[in-house]
């Protein structure tokens, strides 16, 4: 692996960028207590008889409920129809509030911020890695148009969902001080409606992804060896891999599993009209946010690898990859393709893309 030392000028500029990011992260963390309610009203001890009463209600409510369900005492009823209307008190709401404010907002900010800063630092320190600088001029078709479209379809939806979701999560500490409540309300409303509409599309893209790629992502021999050597990260040559290496396979199954969890919990939150109670929704929100933070951090690394490894993005842009890149990262697949005679020359690829108009209308790719 050849590392290209970054030029000096770039380091100073990039260092500056990093400092801004770090300062932003520090500000974010420092500003978090602002998300907690400000006690601008004196919380003087008011002699309120309700405090005692509700304390008893809260202590006894679960017991009364279970007794009522067992039929030991009369039922808990109300004449008002609706979700959870017969629940006198729901103290899980407080736990959910603590989860969102003490854990989710600060920890996800730290996790996502740290991952972003680390990846940026790594990129600035290492630069774009060139696995095999030899330009063979030969190309291999890696992804057909449908697969590329599907990838960018999902990527667009994922990024949109990520941005809108994070707007709703961090907007109050970060954006309200900047743009004011009225403007942020419009932003948050747009984010909410957009998030709701694009959520089901993410499920669709996930299922299409599963249908298209599951077979190529099954475990095959040699994958474990690839994993133990971390895909050549520890030095030495890249271990041989098939069409997808173990890292890509793990990303795929993580995406499918966590993505489906996010979608399922998202649907619970999206349709509040099927009578699901608050407990279920609070739990769904927990799963939804944990999964989202996990996927966001993972996808950041995925984006980093796509950008930092020279030649890796080609497969998702034009569909064709440089033969030396394929040999380096997916040796078994490259050898197999070569055996099948599917290695193309650069001119052939360019002809297929119809870059030069005089060549005329290009042929259709195989297998689209």
């Amino acid at each position: 692996m050849s590392f290209r030392p970054p030029p000096c000028r770039r380091v100073t500029r990039s260092g500056w960028i990093c400092w801004v990011l770090l300062a932003g992260l520090a500000l974010l963390v420092a500003d978090l207590p602002a998300a907690a309610p400000s006690h601008d009203k004196p919380s003087a001890k008011v002699d309120d008889p309700g405090t005692d009463l509700w304390r008893f209600v809260r202590r006894r409510a679960p017991e009364l409920r279970s007794l009522a369900e067992k039929g030991a005492i009369g039922p808990v009823t109300t004449q008002v129809k609706g979700v959870d209307t017969s629940v006198l008190i729901n103290d899980k709401g407080q736990e959910w509030r603590l989860y969102r404010h003490r854990m989710l907002i600060p920890i996800s900010a730290i996790v996502l911020g740290t991952v972003a800063v680390l990846l940026l630092l790594l990129y600035l320190a290492v630069g774009r890695r060139v696995p095999d600088p030899r330009e063979t001029g030969k190309r291999l078709l890696r992804f057909v148009a449908y697969e590329r479209t599907l990838h960018w379809f999902m990527a667009a939806i994922f990024l949109f969902l990520g941005v809108t979701g994070l707007t709703i999560l961090y907007g109050r500490p970060l954006l309200i001080p900047l743009v004011g409540k009225e403007s942020f309300s419009a932003m948050a409303s747009a984010s909410k409606e957009g998030h709701n509409l694009f959520g089901p599309l993410f499920l669709v893209s996930l299922l299409l992804f599963l249908q298209r790629f599951w077979r190529r992502n099954l475990y095959s021999r040699g994958d474990l060896r690839w994993l133990i050597r971390l895909g050549g990260l520890l030095g030495g040559d890249s271990p041989p891999a098939g069409f997808f290496n173990m890292g890509e396979k793990m990303l795929f199954w993580l995406l499918i599993a966590v993505g489906l969890l996010i979608c399922a919990s998202g649907l619970v939150l999206l349709f509040p009209n099927f009578g699901q109670g608050r407990l279920l929704m609070e739990g769904a929100h927990l799963i939804h946010t944990l999964g989202a933070v996990l996927l966001l951090a993972t996808i950041m690394a995925h984006i980093y690898m796509g950008i930092a490894t020279k030649g890796a993005m080609d497969g998702m842009k034009g569909g064709y990859v440089e033969y030396s890149w394929a040999r380096h990262h997916h040796r078994e697949w490259a050898d197999e393709e070569e055996k099948k005679g599917r290695v193309l020359s650069e001119e052939e690829v360019r002809r297929r893309f119809g870059e030069a108009r005089k060549i005329g209308v290009p042929e259709r790719e195989a297998g689209t």
């Binding site: 002699d47 309700g50 006894r60 009364l64 609706g82 109050r172």
Partner: protein
């Protein structure tokens, strides 16, 4: 500076739902929404008790804490209100509120939430007091007219009390003293008996002298 509170005297509430009806009528609450509800425990058996529940106008309101657009505010009277122009209908206040006070209008089978609606302590919203706009969005603003919430005013048995916490505490304390005198026992037990863990048994029977 007053600190407005509701208190429902479970020993007096007869589950007539008069407060629910009064609220709905006074505030022209939209379809499917009830800002106030009456919950009955041990319905139909010995020891039945009812409580009328709405927004409790908490000092440290969970709804205000979790609102992603920060649309809640507390008035000088200690009433927790929200701004429907800012609300985006995300439902977080509904998850956080222990009393189930926030309500959402829903449209058809695709249950997207509209803007949140909840008890305003008959204090309207951020619009000018008594304006038509305020009435359309939040219902009536009786507090500005020097009146208390209609639910409490209409309560036939005066179980539901609304007002400054100090005042309703005094009223309640007098009631307790009277009941204690009547039953020669610490009357608060009457109030609490059914929400307190029993000293023994399964809770199916109430202790002697509590009726």
């Amino acid at each position: 500076m007053a600190r407005m509170k509701f208190y429902c005297d479970a020993a007096r509430c007869i589950e007539c739902n008069g407060c629910v009806t009064a609220c709905k009528n006074e505030n022209e609450v939209p379809w499917g929404i009830n800002r106030r509800r009456v919950v009955t425990i041990k319905d139909g058996v010995h020891g039945e008790r009812s409580l009328s529940v709405a927004c409790m106008h908490c000092s440290d309101a969970p709804c205000a804490a979790v609102c992603p657009v920060d649309c809640f505010y507390t008035t000088d009277d200690g009433v927790v209100l929200h701004d429907k122009d800012i609300c985006i209908g995300c439902g977080y206040c509904f998850y956080a509120c222990p009393f189930g006070a926030p309500q959402f209008p829903q449209d058809g089978a695709f249950g997207t939430r509209g803007k949140m609606d909840k008890c305003t302590f008959c204090a309207g919203g951020p619009e000018p007091d008594g304006s038509a706009e305020e009435y359309r969005k939040y219902g009536s603003n009786r507090l500005a007219e020097g009146k208390l919430p209609l639910c409490a005013e209409m309560c036939a048995t005066k179980a539901l009390l609304a007002g400054d916490a100090g005042v309703i505490s005094d009223i309640y304390r007098k009631r307790v003293v009277n009941r204690a005198a009547a039953s020669l026992e610490w009357g608060a037990r009457l109030q609490r008996a059914n929400f307190r863990a029993p000293d023994s048994g399964t809770g199916t029977e109430t202790r002697k002298g509590h009726r």
